[in-house]
């Protein structure tokens, strides 16, 4: 996995709560058997005026001029400001894959849906929770100043604004450790293979019906 230590990037504000995973990447694009290539279809139904199909050249499609990411000032944004309950809905990891493929590295919101939050970490994408009043301030600043950038430091657990104001955020230690070092967490778990085996052996004794009984 790609490591994440520090990131500075252009901010795009998406002023809408309960953005669900169907909105982030509609189902017709889930038919791919790859992890990449979802970027052009990120927020497909909001971003384009027509109905998107897989294997279509999205650069030729009519854009929705009202959608925030279509405004020239937010081109190449890599930090997304979002509202509450971002990523609710399905477990599709295609959602973080699409955000990542588009070029986002950080998503900041007052709250995230659990599965989505978890899926981000597996893909080198950092979801940050900040309090509603701080979010409000960041939204205002990002909308007011063209070219507004934020710096995110995962080591220090801070978000820093262009004026030098700094906000700290929480992230659990294991996830932070994996992200900072770009660790494959399957490898980390397999370091405990012996322990898993002995747990399993004991369960075979106490709960044999869990091991293929009745088949």
């Amino acid at each position: 996995m790609r490591a994440f230590t520090q990131h500075q990037g252009l901010v795009a504000p998406m002023d809408r709560s309960n953005v669900d995973t169907d909105m982030i990447i509609p189902k017709q694009f889930l038919k791919s058997i790859k992890r990449t290539g979802f970027g052009p279809n990120l927020f497909d139904e909001l971003r384009y005026l027509d109905e998107g199909q897989p294997d279509q050249d999205s650069s030729q499609r009519p854009l929705n001029p009202d959608f925030v990411l279509n405004q020239p000032r937010y081109k190449n944004a890599s930090v997304l400001l979002a509202r509450s309950n971002f990523g609710c809905g399905s477990s599709r990891e295609h959602a973080p894959w699409a955000l990542d493929d588009y070029g986002f590295r950080v998503i900041i919101a007052p709250s995230f849906a659990d599965i989505f939050y978890n899926n981000c970490f597996k893909n080198g994408l950092l979801p940050i929770v900040l309090e509603a009043n701080i979010m409000e301030k960041l939204f205002q600043e990002a909308e007011a100043a063209e070219g507004y950038e934020l710096t995110v430091d995962l080591q220090a657990k801070t978000v820093i604004t262009p004026s030098g104001e700094s906000f700290s955020f929480d992230v659990d230690d294991f996830r932070r450790h994996c992200l900072l070092n770009g660790l494959d967490d399957i490898g980390v778990t397999l370091e405990d293979a012996e322990r898993i085996k002995s747990y399993e052996d004991q369960r075979r004794e106490t709960a044999p019906w869990l091991f293929g009984a009745g088949q």
């Binding site: 709560s17 309960n18 669900d20 169907d22 909105m23 509609p26 189902k27 017709q28 889930l30 038919k31 791919s32 058997i33 992890r35 139904e45 109905e51 294997d55 509202r83 509450s84 309950n85 609710c88 809905g89 399905s90 477990s91 599709r92 990891e93 973080p96 709250s111 849906a113 659990d114 599965i115 978890n118 899926n119 597996k122 893909n123 659990d172 230690d173 294991f174 996830r175 450790h177 494959d184 967490d185 399957i186 778990t189 397999l190 405990d192 293979a193 322990r195 898993i196 747990y199 399993e200 369960r203 709960a207 044999p208 019906w209 869990l210 091991f211 293929g212 009984a213 009745g214 088949q215």
Partner: protein, 472 residues
Amino acid sequence: MAGKTLYDKLWDDHLVKQRDDGSALIYIDRQLLHEVTSPQAFEGLRLANRKPWRIDANLATPDHNVPTTDRAKGIEGIVDPVSRIQVETLGKNCDEFGILEFKIMDKRQGIVHVIGPEQGATLPGMTIVCGDSHTSTHGAFGCLAHGIGTSEVEHVLATQCLVQQKMKNMLVKVDGQLGKGVTGKDVVLAIIAKIGTAGGTGHAIEFGGEAIQNLSMEGRMTICNMAIEAGARVGMVAVDGTTIEYVKGRPFSPKGESWDAAVKYWRTLHSDLDAVFDKTVELDAADILPQVSWGTSPEMVVGINGHVPDPAKEEDPIKREGIERALKYMGLQPNQAITDIKLDRVFIGSCTNSRIEDLREAAVVVKGRKVADSLMQAMVVPGSGLVKAQAEAEGLDQIFIEAGLEWRDPGCSMCLAMNADKLGQGEHCASTSNRNFEGRQGFGGRTHLVSPAMAAAAAIAGHFVDVRELLN
């Protein structure tokens, strides 16, 4: 020391290692696989040169992309080449790694969350995962079951474990008796309307109280299925006689001595009387009416005698904007009566409501009646090949067909419209599925979530009606 909740017990029994940083390794007893969220996981295994840890813990079936007609053609019947590749890829991966798969032609094929319980592959006390958020369904059996992403599917395949943080405990208690014509679906919609789509975030919800205890396993599965729509990855119901009766004699269920030992353990799977929950919400079953969603989020729900809300009366600006946006998308007017919403299609199916009891409830309503002429389509999609066979043995298929509903083959179908079954732009659909997000059932489609009985009643009337009027 306070007693344990059901969630605490399941957690403790599956804890392989507690790490210092607060994360834990949890052992997974069962993984269910389908074609949409598994290909990249198998690919990851291959790239890292890893093998599945325990093959017999996995069970696979294609469901999201399968057509619901013309199934005699098997995989060849999948018209969309991209869908076909996905179903074929699942087949190849399962064959390569030796994982049991109910393939498209197998009569046991169906929606993952229907076939697990049906086969006894879902047993009380298990930890169950699947790359699908509605895995919470299995919690109805006193399981710790939740959806995971594709990276975690790969993690479980490779290690039989998941890295987890312990969630908080939440109790949703529904006391009293449900009225006639009010089902598990109405209960869960009423719960979501009350606590909101983020009400359960970070929590494992246990559903309890007299009304839940009185429900069948089908009703409990419907409720746990939609825990995720309340923001909770996990929904659970304690094990009781109803659970054990349901599990008995299923193909994967234990037999003989092993059965007796299992039952003894399963009987302990309930929260202790003195267990403490971080959050408790109570509802009175008698207050719950048949529910209908009017908006684009599962919390935008009212009783059948209610009205579409008026954004002008909402004080919170973010909520007001949400209501305005939803009304625009749904093509509805403020204060419009729910019974005035005209429908174009009716869909009875999905992992929320496609089990035999759901079909029986719908059949009772349509029996001897005819689908409204104004409707473009009404379809019934059973949750599995075995549900289909059972319904046919009971003659339910004939009741539906005579009333003018289409009788389809099993799969996810119009729940998320990844196959050919979808809504056209602007069409209103009474749907027994679980999500009414924009575009969920087709680009520009308008979904109203209801119970099977309410969907059946709507099919007859061509608009929403109180099913209780048809039940007398």
